[in-house]
């Protein structure tokens, strides 16, 4: 699309939206948000990017293939369930560490997996449709 305003705005917006997506992902455990929302948000950002700059730019920007992102997400989500097995608990039971004033646990990895899987799915469809 040939519109200078849109282009300029997009350059600003995409970065902001991606940062916001990461923020939504991270705060999801305590505040409204989480992997799904973040993935949709990031997907929207890339859609905007793809509409203004074309799918090739998006492909170059994300470097890896969208399918790989989705697969990584699924793998991460599944892997997040494994520590529980090692500790002789049911698959995907949350395991937590308490390194400082905050908690770190497998559900966070799981949420990251959800984020990547959904984002990968959206991106692959978006780019395939845009390129066609």
């Amino acid at each position: 699309m040939q519109s200078t305003i849109l282009k300029t705005a997009t350059h600003l917006m995409v970065g902001l939206m991606l940062v916001f997506a990461v923020y939504v992902l991270l705060r999801g455990h305590h505040e409204p948000g989480g992997g799904f929302c973040a993935a949709l948000l990031a997907g929207t950002a890339f859609a905007l990017f793809a509409i203004t700059e074309g799918p090739d730019r998006v492909r170059r920007a994300i470097r890896v293939r969208p399918g790989t992102i989705a697969a990584t997400g699924l793998a991460l989500a599944a892997l997040a369930g494994l520590p529980a097995l090692v500790m002789n608990k049911p698959f995907l039971t949350g395991i937590w560490w308490h390194p400082g004033p905050f908690f770190v646990g497998t559900p966070l990895i799981f949420d990251l997996g959800v984020f990547l899987a959904v984002l990968g799915a959206i991106l692959s469809l978006l780019l395939a449709l845009e390129e066609n």
Binding site: H30, E31, P32, F36, L40, V118, L125, L129
Partner: protein, 131 residues
């Protein structure tokens, strides 16, 4: 309150069915999206709409202080929305592909109405034999 919502859901559902029955594939997709919304509302109402506080736990608490909205249907709906989204996109792609093949989006027209051959198996095997 909830009974009013029940009426809204019923009307949305009926409209969605009506759209899907039209035989125009684009309207079918619209109907599908509408139905998804109706069903999400239904699940939402099944957890009751009595409390308006979001199911969050305050920073100085370990359990919700005041009564909060039912979290369970919300979790169900969240996944339902995302799955419904994925299905909608898939339907759209299917629509795209169907148009590519059939050159029409009217499901009552020729390429969509197929007559099965009488003895399909035999004909298929004969065809293979010829090949």
């Amino acid at each position: 309150m909830e009974s009013l919502l029940a009426l809204v859901v019923g009307l949305m559902f009926g409209s969605a069915l009506f759209l899907m029955l039209s035989g125009i594939l684009v309207r079918f997709v619209f109907g599908f999206v509408l139905m998804g919304n109706a069903v999400n509302l239904l699940i939402f109402a099944s957890g009751r709409l009595t409390h308006v506080n979001p199911p969050l736990i305050g920073f100085d608490q370990t359990i919700p202080g005041a009564p909060v909205a039912n979290a369970l249907p919300q979790a169900l709906i969240l996944t339902a929305i995302v799955i419904g989204f994925a299905m909608t996109i898939f339907l759209l792609v299917l629509l795209y592909r169907a148009y590519d093949q059939a050159r029409t989006l009217d499901a009552d027209q020729e390429p969509f109405l197929v007559e099965m051959p009488e003895t399909s198996d035999q004909q298929v095997s004969e065809k293979k034999e010829q090949a």
